[in-house]
């Protein structure tokens, strides 16, 4: 039952995407070269395919065999953990440029280890620093990638 409900919801979302994509495709510039297919040709093909497949998915949710547990229910810890992990990534991306790789990375590695359930704080601290320096040296001097070690220096 739950699997069928999921199919209907996901199918509806995909159908909405297909309608939005179709709207944008309809507003693409029309072709201006003779005897050529316009730049909207393939987008229309993909849009129609997605619409058909979405309807098939919705149909299999409505008329398909009942049963199937669907996706496992996520608990509060898992949902919260997902938000925290993505927040760490976003903050990290912003802070590398603002503060510098060498300063922010040990904290990010430490935070991720904490999220992963580790509680040996001294070991985690040492690993965070060693990993940061190793990756910095590898990318900066071996692969010659220009990442800011410490900003404002």
């Amino acid at each position: 039952m739950k699997a069928n409900r999921e199919k209907i919801v996901i199918g509806a979302v995909l159908l909405a995407i297909s309608i939005g994509y179709g709207y944008m495709t309809a507003h693409l510039p029309t072709r201006n070269l003779p005897n050529t297919l316009g730049l909207d040709f393939m987008p229309w093909v993909y849009d129609i395919l997605l619409a058909i497949l979405s309807l098939l998915l919705i149909g299999s949710g409505i008329w398909g065999s009942t049963g199937g547990a669907g996706a496992k229910q996520l608990g509060g810890r898992e949902i919260g953990g997902t938000f925290i992990l993505f927040a760490i990534f976003v903050a990290y991306i912003y802070l590398i440029d603002a503060v510098g790789f060498l300063i922010v990375t040990p904290f990010v590695v430490f935070a991720m280890m904490l999220l992963g359930g580790a509680r040996q704080y001294v070991k985690m601290g040492v690993i965070s620093v060693v990993v940061t320096v190793t990756i910095y040296v590898l990318f900066r001097y071996v692969f010659v990638v220009s990442i800011t070690g410490i900003a404002f220096t």
Binding site: P29, L37, D47, I93, L115, F139
Partner: protein, 497 residues
């Protein structure tokens, strides 16, 4: 031809390229051995690094990883009964039973030597078959190329997927993503919303890293979907097993043939080959020895492992000769070659034969390194199995961020990676395969240009795909791959009533 081969050999044997191959082998053993880390993940992590390398160094690194990753998956399969890679699933059946009887060293040695045999066999097939296929493919025009890419996409989206509709949806979404950016024929912007970053479209590298790496990081750090047991036993000298490379030859030949053949079919997948090989070896075993086979013996390890690495060479055939990747790993290899400005396909054999021979030699060098390095350092990999997830996954996360940043020195790509990471996580959660999306993103631009050019030359007549014989064959096979699961399930329902 001989001078190209010699030139290529000298190129591959430089210290830098040998070092790159060795580095790829070590990293591949690492990601292959640890359950939860995949060869695809290892390859996407190294992809940004290959930007700064020359093509031969890049291919030496990645092929080393490809071959050793397949071998590395057998280590945890044998010791812990948990395959490090999906293709090592059949090895776990016999291998872990041997471990329980105290024969872990023998099982590991058999796995490594059989993998080497499989890799050599598939290399021989690749060297013989690839030039023939490439010569035939040179006759393909735009119509045939469009139909071929269509076939590749439909095979990946429909073949071997649990739900064909979901596989097709994943593929179509990938194709829609490829329409962002400049139109390939008239170079006008589409769906860019006036943003400069979208003018060049969505770069497939951050997409690859996002789709493969982020869901695994999420599952390991947050969901913590599985706990890996520890291996407490001792491993005696594994290197002595090297003399067993050509033991059980007829089983290994058949298994390697199965692996190479299945590997050459886009979408077929490693697990199909290894289980076919395991089953075939059982049938070939004399009846009086079947019980020993079922209780786990050397042949039960040798056959799936020979098939496992037979896939390596087989999968390279369609990728190198036609530019059609058959699985995520060859899609990533294709991406790596495109980064270097090389376009796999029949023209590569004509325009850059030295590079093609370099691929063959790099494959051989990688296979030799895998054999010796794995046997000599087996105890290291057993210890590596004990590294906790909470150490590995944060390191992988940092690699992902810095790696995607290094592509164009832009955090935009890192943002794209995160977006596709979240999308990949949701897709996997709700049963949508990510591989069709990835392959559609890689093949989509070619598919659009070949299709539109074919229709332009035929003045908009779609029957052109049915009038050309080769194109017609590809279209018929594609339709068959759509319809066969439907027909199969209808027949099953009829049998049941």
């Amino acid at each position: 031809m001989a001078e190209f081969a010699m030139q290529a050999l000298l190129g591959v044997l430089t210290p830098a390229n040998l070092l790159a191959s060795l580095a790829g082998v070590l990293f591949g053993l690492f990601v292959g051995a640890i359950p939860g880390l995949t060869i695809s993940l290892g390859m996407v992590l190294l992809l940004p690094v290959t930007y700064t390398m020359n093509p031969i160094t890049s291919i030496s690194l990645l092929l080393g990883l490809f071959i050793s990753g397949m071998t590395g998956g057998s280590i945890s399969a044998i010791l812990l009964n948990i395959p490090g890679t999906p293709s090592a699933s059949a090895t776990a059946i016999a291998g872990h039973q041997m471990t329980r009887r105290g024969e872990a060293a023998q099982a590991l040695g058999t796995a490594v030597t059989s993998s080497f045999f499989g890799a050599l066999f598939s290399l021989a097939v690749l060297v013989l078959v690839a030039p023939i296929v490439a010569r035939a493919a040179l006759k393909f025009g735009e119509v045939e190329l469009a139909a071929l890419v269509f076939l590749g996409l439909t095979l990946i989206c429909s073949f071997g997927q649990r739900s064909m509709v979901k596989g097709l949806i994943s593929g179509v979404l990938g194709l829609m993503i490829t329409t962002i950016g400049l139109d390939p024929i008239v170079a006008r912007p589409r769906f860019t919303f006036g943003m400069v970053e979208l003018q060049s479209g969505i770069n497939f590298l951050p997409v690859m890293i996002g789709l493969f790496a982020i869901p695994q990081i999420l599952n390991g750090l947050v969901m913590r979907t599985e706990e890996i047991p520890r291996y407490e036993g001792k491993i005696s000298n594994v290197f002595v097993q090297i003399k067993r490379v050509f033991a059980h030859l007829r089983y290994k030949i058949v298994a390697a043939l199965i692996g190479t053949g299945v590997g050459a079919i886009p979408g077929a997948g490693g697990p199909i080959a290894v289980f076919l090989a395991y089953d075939m070896a059982r049938r070939m075993t004399p009846k009086k020895d079947r019980e020993a086979y079922d209780n786990g013996n050397e042949i039960g390890v040798a056959a799936p492992e020979a098939a496992n690495n037979g896939i390596n060479g087989g999968a390279l055939i369609p990728m190198l000769t036609l530019g059609i990747p058959g699985d995520p790993i060859t899609a990533i290899l294709l991406g790596a070659l495109m980064i270097q400005g090389l376009t796999p396909g029949p023209l590569l054999f004509r325009s850059n034969p030295v590079f093609v021979y370099s691929v063959f030699w790099a494959f051989l060098v990688g296979a030799i390194f895998v054999l010796f390095v794995t046997l000599l350092t087996m105890k290291v990999w057993v210890a590596v199995l004990q590294i906790p997830r909470w150490v590995l996954l944060p390191i992988i996360s940092i690699f992902c961020v810095v790696g995607t940043f290094s592509l164009r020195n832009s955090f935009w790509d890192t943002g794209v990676m995160l977006f596709f990471g979240l999308l990949g996580f949701l897709m996997i959660r709700y049963g949508f395969p990510v591989v069709p999306m990835l392959l559609a993103i890689v093949l989509g631009p070619d598919f659009e240009s070949h299709t539109r050019l074919s229709l332009i030359t035929s003045k908009g007549d779609p029957a052109v795909f049915l009038r050309h014989p080769i194109s017609l064959v590809f279209v018929v096979i594609a339709l068959f791959s759509f319809l066969s699961p439907i027909i199969r399930s209808m027949l099953k329902k009829k049998e049941g009533t």
